[in-house]
């Protein structure tokens, strides 16, 4: 049977790995190449790298660094961070990336996802969606690393991204990022029921039971997280970790 996926999302800033809280205050957690080597040993399902400054500073992907990361990665690898063109994606695939995550660009270029999907197939294209609550508690779309509010209804936007040709949706809850208090079960469940492509839920996982909860209550099949895979213990010491096969079997028992 096809297995559900647990995907560490690793944030790049300059040449290092960082972890944020609510998309702010990046804390250095180590060297990306070293992290990939450890995740190899742990036989991780998949890895995502997101350059958190690329869109905000309008940087081109750091191909040299990505190539070094990819050369050590014997698992599927996705990259996000100011990906803007077919040519950039061609280069990324050539150096060893399987999928690209496109987020901020989708608001200014409605054609990008369909172009990428036509060229490389929809399974190469992940559409990123960042959601944040406003002062009145209403969830809204954001882009550019949570610095720009965007118009549009969340569910309608997700359906639209699928129509454009996205192969997967990576949905991130900005308010829950780094808080380790659990996923936004309601939002993720609603999105997963509204589209027919896989939804990768991200933001809030603080323990393996949080993954189990989201799995039990929704149709989500891919579970992404940051903090839980780079921090360990009550003092949040930096320690790259990933559930064992036995732990994963426990996670996939519905409550």
């Amino acid at each position: 049977m096809l297995a559900n996926r647990v995907i560490p999302v690793l944030l790049l800033r300059n040449e290092g790995l960082v972890k944020t809280k609510q998309f702010k205050n990046p804390v250095y957690v180590g060297d990306p190449i070293n992290a990939v080597k450890i995740f190899n040993d742990k036989e991780v399902d998949e890895l995502s790298f997101i350059d958190i400054e690329a869109s905000k500073l309008n940087k081109t992907p750091n191909y040299k660094l990505i190539e070094r990361i990819a050369s050590e990665a014997f698992m599927p690898l996705s990259y996000g961070g100011n990906v803007k063109s077919v040519d950039e994606v061609r280069t990324l695939i050539k150096i060893g990336i399987e999928k690209v995550i496109v987020n901020s660009q989708n608001f200014s270029n409605a054609q990008l996802i369909s172009q990428l999907s036509d060229h490389f197939g929809s399974s190469t294209v992940i559409a990123g969606i960042d959601v944040k609550k406003n002062l009145w508690g209403k969830k809204e779309l954001y882009s550019h690393n949570a610095t720009k509010a965007q118009k549009g209804k969340i569910i309608e936007y997700c359906v639209e991204l699928e129509k454009r040709g996205a192969g997967e949706l990576l949905v991130n809850s900005i308010d829950r990022d780094g808080m380790m208090q659990g996923y936004d079960v309601e939002l993720m469940g609603e999105i997963a029921n509204s589209v027919s492509i896989p939804v990768i839920a991200c933001g809030g996982a603080g323990k393996l039971q949080d993954i189990n909860e989201l799995y039990s209550k929704t149709n989500v099949t891919a579970f992404a997280a940051g903090s839980i895979f780079v921090f360990h213990g009550p003092h949040k010491a930096v320690l790259i970790n990933y559930p064992s096969r036995e732990q994963l079997k426990e996670i996939w028992k519905k409550q």
């Binding site: 996926r5 399902d45 014997f74 060893g96 990336i97 399987e98 060229h119 399974s123």
Partner: protein, 207 residues
């Protein structure tokens, strides 16, 4: 030296990394002349069937690959779309495949499968390959449960059962690993499948 056939649609980088890691030598090849110097070839592929066939023809590699595989009998490994190209045809397109493997490639169809309404296409993620033969060179040193990363919407179905080497369950069993003499095909991505994939590449390098 292993030729990595570059027709503009493959995850060449990932495959080259894996071969290097496993102690093999590879070279990206785009012409018949370059292919002639190789002793093995890998046909990668991400994308659409017809576009792949057309591009291989345009590069003048179609006849060269037929010569390489059928006359010189050198080992050829097809990965993902590359595996599908080894077959006769695909429902994804109108062009003919190489036909070295007697199989047709069909879109996943769960209409006759009870309780399969929750299965999403593409078949994306980790799944198990169940070998259906015992003495096949790429199955050397296989472990009990061999897991691989898959991404595809079309799957092979063999006409000649002798060409089926491994099967995978997604709604129903399909032919995820095929082979015949010096021809080898994996629907999954062994280059992205940790130690399981390393075993496959090591076996191919050692042929």
């Amino acid at each position: 030296m292993i030729a990595l056939i570059d027709y503009g649609m493959g995850n060449i980088g990932s495959i080259a990394n894996m071969i290097k890691k496993m102690g093999g030598k590879s070279k990206v090849v785009t012409t018949a002349a370059e292919l002639a110097g190789a002793d093995k070839a890998i046909l990668p592929g991400i994308g659409a069937f017809d576009q792949a066939v057309t591009t291989i023809h345009k590069l003048g590699l179609w006849d060269a690959l037929n010569e390489f595989a059928l006359v010189e009998k050198k080992p050829v490994l097809g990965i993902c779309l590359g595996m599908q190209l080894l077959c006769n045809s695909s429902e994804e397109g109108k062009e003919k495949g190489f036909g070295w493997i007697d199989a047709e490639v069909k879109r996943f169809d769960f209409s006759a499968v009870e309780g399969a309404s929750n299965l999403k296409i593409p078949h994306m993620g980790w799944n198990v390959v169940r070998p259906v033969v015992t003495d096949w060179p790429l199955f050397e040193n296989w472990e009990d449960e061999m897991r691989f990363y898959f991404v595809h919407s079309y799957a092979a179905s063999v006409n000649n059962t002798a060409h089926a080497k491994g099967k995978t369950f997604f709604g129903y069993e399909f032919d995820s690993v095929v082979g015949h003499e010096n021809i080898f095909g994996f629907q999954c991505h062994p280059e992205k499948s940790h130690r399981f994939g390393k075993i496959v590449y090591k076996n191919f390098i050692d042929l």
